[in-house]
Assembly symmetry: C2
Homo-oligomer: 317 residues x 2
């Protein structure tokens, strides 16, 4: 049995293989080839914390994965990271534990970043280069690094806005160390006006991006809404989009970015497509350079399976 | 973070503390003080395997537990154990992983054995001594060892029946090594006739114990039915019992031993009591020496939490 620390896991991940594995995973999910029961949930209101347990199996795969991911939102005040957790890979042939991945939540952050870049590449115009990022937390960093890698041949440029100028400056500095230039923008409406694509990474519980700020041809990848009550985009904007892409129709319409528009009767299941179907070429991500396209990512167990496989392949290669 | 092997875990368990922790856990569950979402399930029909993921938290406890338990029923033919898995204990205050318990399924077997003894002691007559065990697998061994310990002051005697005489003889030999005498009985009806209490441990998908074999005053603890389609006791016997005790009313009536009688409209929720309520003195386990009593155990996450705590207490004591 493998027992991997975060450092060993980070060293084992090959980004190009990870992107390919995630795309395969999304396609398998859209094709109905993935067992993904509802996500398990425990709440710890006394400590403003929660735990999500995701588990699933891709048909014919030799392993399956159980992921435990915690978020305790008072941790930073105690000098501790907000998120933690681990993944366990088991044999789908004998049930034996194959590997413990003590990633402390890093693989979740990574696969979320990679999925954002995949959805952004799928939805943005061919000639688009200017990517605006909303938020300056951990996930903003993962999104920018992933997009810089996946879209490198298009030479993307990055700008970012955050509520806190200090956190925005810290984001700029962190990414500059890795050779990625990010232009800080102090006005969110201005960021929207100058961006071909937006990636939103906030935990907002109400619209951050106004409908009237978004012009024709823009693509938005929204990551923040992963639970009931969270929302980053004005409902009218979701309703007005020409194409809506969800990693999971079921999750997005129930508790993701598309939920308020669905609850209001403005959109239905048939007004959205799944990312896996887009990646399989079964549905267009955009039909014209003037389309507004929105991708909503709520997070799927198949992403955890895919990224765990990339780690295990990297270790045994 | 603790990382415990099966040998370390076995050495850390104190049986008396484990019985007490399990009883506390059942009482907490019956009192509604335990978060126990529905059990997660993955199926692997190509290899006759399954995986159950149980997770929960007892109110105010400093830790919570996620358990992964696999059963792959072709494994013995490959020279591998049928069951496997692990438990993960996490902080309910920070979400950090506190301990990995690589018990390979041993803690599940143990806590199931302990729960069986607790339910049997609760339901059997005060003067009962003869315990008949149905089945000769791993769980039959755990049940007998647990009952021999918990009921030691009553000087219980054990008899057993199994479909395979060879397996029955192996059971007798194994337990004799630990100083527990088990009388092999080659006829199941005879075993029922001579027993004050029965413990059934088979994976049967249809009735093994006939209604007419069970006389007044007998207690039965049924462990086998933990999934839809499994059944060890004739439905008429369940319907005829004077007292029905379930670890979880919801699980037992849905997919446990009480499910067929419930589905047939012969019993309802109000015809059963929960083991935790019995242990708390809120409901009787038997009202007379002529009552037929049946306890059905389907397995609860609170048992996993309780047994994990006993291990961690044993390690740090």
């Amino acid at each position: 049995m493998l027992d991997l620390t975060r450092a060993e896991i980070e060293a084992a991940v090959d980004l190009d293989r990870a992107f390919a594995a995630l795309e395969d995973g999304f396609r398998a999910a859209a094709a109905g080839r993935v067992q993904m029961p509802p996500v398990g949930y425990l709440g710890f209101p006394a400590h403003n914390g929660d735990c999500h347990i995701k588990f699933g199996h891709i048909a014919d795969d030799p392993i399956f994965v159980v992921k435990i991911a915690t978020g305790f939102y008072e941790n930073p005040a105690k000098g501790l990271p907000t998120t933690s957790g681990m993944m366990i890979a088991l044999s789908a042939e004998t049930g034996a534990v194959v590997a413990i991945l003590r990633d402390e939540g890093w693989l979740t952050d990574l696969r979320t970043g990679l999925a954002g870049a995949i959805a952004t590449r799928a939805g943005m115009r061919r000639d688009a280069r200017m990517i605006g990022v909303v938020g300056a937390g951990t996930q903003a960093r993962f999104q920018i690094r992933a997009a810089a890698h996946l879209l490198r041949e298009r030479e993307p440029r990055f700008a970012a806005w955050a509520r806190s100028p200090e956190r925005l400056e810290a984001l700029r500095r962190d990414l500059a160390k890795g050779g990625i230039a990010v232009e800080p923008v102090d006005d969110l409406e201005a960021l929207c006006a100058q961006s071909d694509a937006l990636i939103t990474t906030t935990p907002a519980a109400g619209p951050v991006i106004r409908d009237e700020w978004i012009g024709p041809g823009v693509h938005i990848t929204a990551l923040g809404a992963d639970a009931p009550g969270k929302q980053e985009l004005e409902t009218a904007l979701v309703a007005r989009a020409d194409i809506r892409i969800a990693d999971s129709l079921e999750q997005s319409l129930d508790h993701g970015e598309f939920a308020p528009a669905a609850a209001g009767g403005l959109i239905g299941r048939s007004d959205c497509v799944e990312l896996g179907a887009v990646l399989a070429g079964q549905a267009p991500a955009r039909r014209s350079d003037r389309d507004i396209t929105i991708a909503d990512l709520t997070g799927l167990a198949v992403q955890d399976i895919a990224i765990a496989r990339v780690v295990l392949d990297g270790i045994t290669r």
